[in-house]
């Protein structure tokens, strides 16, 4: 059993991590070495050049700053809004509930590439072109659907009896939501939060369209700028991707302890 578990873990780790490992080793190589045959893992010319050229370039660093600001804002705002909406869907019956649920889900279902031009026109006429709010609000639209569905799902797994507990203290639905349900949904919140951060961090198409000047661009655009018309700057692309993935990884590592179980143990006595 132990051996089976270990084997599965290692196989899984190989499956998940080998490509990323390859990305990492490539970021330390020189461009031609990346295409060498036979492929080499440790390069002769190990260097941090790729990383250095990114980190020492204020334009590129600005990309990271912008991505942080946008992704963090989107995460916080989406969570707050989705918690409320998920609560509404989970705990209440009201007219048009099904319609609204469908509307929220189906907003995701329109291919973004066709929405691009009218949406862009809308943002320009709202005067938000090339601003942080344009990106923040746009990403909220993308992530709210998922976040609301997930929060509804998580709240649905928490029995209604829990809400009753606040009645003793004379509290209403808001109290039930924020004092009882939210603390119990921390694993769900963390997973939705990380997902939201990731969507906002990695999005490319709307980031490119809704920003105009270098000082507003984000990391995915920075990576694409390295894919030239004539050739790609492979090692820098890999380095920038690794640098770009670190924030999400750190976020995950920091918050993963909230996944640890037992939060609802004993809360429900059948």
């Amino acid at each position: 059993m132990q051996a089976g578990l270990l084997f599965a873990l290692l196989a899984g780790a190989l499956f998940a991590a080998f490509p990323v490992f390859w990305m990492g080793t490539s970021s330390f190589k020189t461009n031609p070495e990346i295409f060498e045959l036979p492929p080499r893992v440790i390069t002769e010319h190990f260097s941090f050049d790729a990383y250095w050229s990114i980190l020492s370039n204020p334009v590129e660093v600005r990309f990271f700053v912008n991505s942080y600001i946008v992704a963090l804002s989107v995460t916080v705002l989406t969570l707050v809004v989705a918690i409320q909406a998920g609560y509404a869907f989970s705990r209440f019956q009201f007219p048009f509930k099904r319609t609204l649920n469908i509307v929220i889900v189906s907003v995701q279902a329109v291919p973004p590439i066709t929405l691009l031009i009218p949406y862009f026109g809308l943002i320009v006429s709202l005067g938000l072109y090339n601003t942080y709010p344009a990106l923040i609000l746009t990403y909220m639209v993308f992530t709210l659907s998922y976040a609301i569905i997930m929060m509804t799902g998580y709240f649905n797994t928490l029995p209604r009896e829990l809400d009753e507990a606040v009645k003793v203290d004379g509290g209403g639905p808001m109290m039930a939501l924020w004092r009882i349900l939210v603390p119990l949904s921390v694993p769900g919140l963390v997973s939705v939060g990380i997902y939201t951060f990731m969507i906002a961090w990695n999005e490319y198409l709307f980031a490119l369209t809704l920003t105009r000047t270098e000082d507003m661009r984000t990391v995915p655009i920075g990576i694409q700028l390295l894919m030239g018309q004539h050739s790609y700057r492979w090692n820098e692309m890999m380095a920038m991707s690794i640098l770009g993935s670190l924030p999400v990884l750190v976020l995950f590592l920091v918050f993963q302890r909230y996944f640890i179980g037992g939060l609802t143990t004993g809360a429900v006595k059948n």
Partner: protein, 433 residues
């Protein structure tokens, strides 16, 4: 319940206020472009916006340096560079035109011109040239639609034949092939050397199908052939058929590097640099790249082989960095000054040298021509032949290449004959005209 509801509304309004605050502290430079600029001549500073993909491809600071020179020479005009990734430039320009946010001066590719003219997004340069009294004889080429110029190529990247000297000599071939028979023989001999080495490389990715232009149709143009007749598609003619059959014969002989059907142009140079490809049709811009990445690689530049016995002028494919002015620019006169600046003899030579391409000004001579053998060879080929790219200026040029590519892929995979392929391509092309 009373507390609950009001608390709900309070929380909701808090979220709304937060959102408004975030909107309020808008990011920097959020002023909408182009609308608040004074038209030149009122004594205010005119800011021109120049959107292109060139800045990241040139040495750091080079393009900005040129713009600074322009600003120094043209008091009252400032230039703001807007750079974007090449692969997304076409979509972004269309979206920008639709939303009215296009920059004043725009970098363009010849394949987009016809459709942008249809959209009305770029302005008639002939009219501007006339009102500025510009002498256009110094321009090597002008991309015209309906008789008026809409794009001027600033730098031309030609695609000659690159040959790996070591692989050729190992295969017993002394000089780069000059006609199709020699090419086929050389490719076979190189491939016979075994290992991972192949004689030729052919990128046919459907995502950016310029392999059709650079690696397939180029054979036709190098022998003076054409795929058009009176500006209309004529894909089923004898020359094109001979070209396609030749490409198919190379494919069937197994001399083409693996992965061709989804290979992109940027992959060619990597395979060549690593010595796994004997001969390739490549962009001149790669010369310095190859030298930097593999100083030991000995390679030559020559003209694309023509059909046996052909003695006429050989067409050589090229891609350009083209420039145009947007229709809704409020500073067209100033914008033209920038175009003029980039096209004059000295600056055009500078830009071409920096980009490793050939100038769009007939009199400009880039510095690398005099002090570099390979570039000199390329320049001689350029002068001896003529720049040939029939796709430039055609409607939905990308789509034409793509539909041809799809049919070619079917043929190469053995699913249809060359005749069927050409007829299918002709039919689908005619629909677009």
């Amino acid at each position: 319940m009373r507390n609950g509801v009001s608390a709900t509304w309070r929380a909701t309004s808090l979220v709304v206020v937060l959102a408004v605050l975030v909107a309020g502290c808008a990011g920097p430079s959020s002023s909408p472009p182009a609308t608040a600029k004074p038209a030149g001549g009122t004594g205010g500073v005119t800011t021109l916006e120049f959107s292109q993909w060139w800045e990241p491809e040139l040495p750091q600071g080079a393009l900005r340096g040129l713009m600074d020179q322009f600003e120094a020479a043209s008091p009252g005009i400032k230039v703001k560079l807007l750079s974007g990734p090449f692969a997304s430039t076409k979509e972004q320009t269309i979206a920008g035109a639709a939303a009215g946010t296009m920059a004043d001066v725009v970098g363009l590719d010849g394949a987009w011109v016809s459709d942008f003219v249809k959209q009305g997004s770029i302005t008639n340069l002939s009219a501007l040239m006339k009102s500025a009294g510009y002498d256009d004889s110094q321009l090597a080429a002008q991309i015209k639609v309906n008789g008026s110029t809409y794009m001027i190529p600033v730098v031309n990247f030609i695609y000659p034949l690159f040959t790996n000297d070591d692989l050729l000599s190992k295969a017993g071939v002394t000089a780069p092939p000059t006609n199709r028979t020699e090419f086929m023989a050389a490719a076979k001999k190189i491939t016979a050397g075994g290992g991972d080495v192949k004689g030729w490389i052919l990128p046919l990715s459907l995502e950016t199908p310029n392999g059709i232009q650079n690696d397939v149709m180029s054979w036709n143009w190098a022998s003076g052939g054409s795929m058009l007749k009176d500006g209309k598609p004529d894909v089923a003619n004898a020359d094109v058929k001979a070209t396609v059959e030749y490409v198919k014969s190379l494919w069937d002989a197994g001399v083409v590097a693996p992965g061709a059907l989804t290979m992109k142009e940027q992959d060619k140079v990597e395979e060549f640099t690593n010595g796994r490809v004997g001969m390739m049709i490549g962009s001149l811009a790669w010369v310095n790249l190859i030298r930097k990445n593999n100083a030991n690689l000995k390679f030559s530049i020559s003209a694309i082989p023509a059909k046996d016995g052909f003695t006429g002028k050989r067409g050589i494919p090229y891609a350009s960095w083209g420039i145009g002015i947007s229709e809704n620019s409020k500073n067209k006169a100033e914008a033209w000054k920038l175009v003029d600046f980039l096209m004059n003899k000295t600056n055009n030579a500078s830009v071409s040298s920096l980009a490793n391409g050939f100038p769009g000004n007939t009199q400009a001579v880039p510095s690398f021509v005099s002090n570099d053998n390979l570039f000199k060879a390329a320049f001689d080929i350029y002068k001896a032949g003529y720049p040939a790219n029939e796709f430039t200026g055609l409607p939905v040029a990308d789509e034409l290449m793509r539909s041809f590519d799809e049919q070619l892929q079917k043929t190469l995979s053995g699913n249809q004959s060359v005749d069927d392929m050409l007829n299918a391509a002709q039919t689908s092309w005619l629909k677009k005209f």
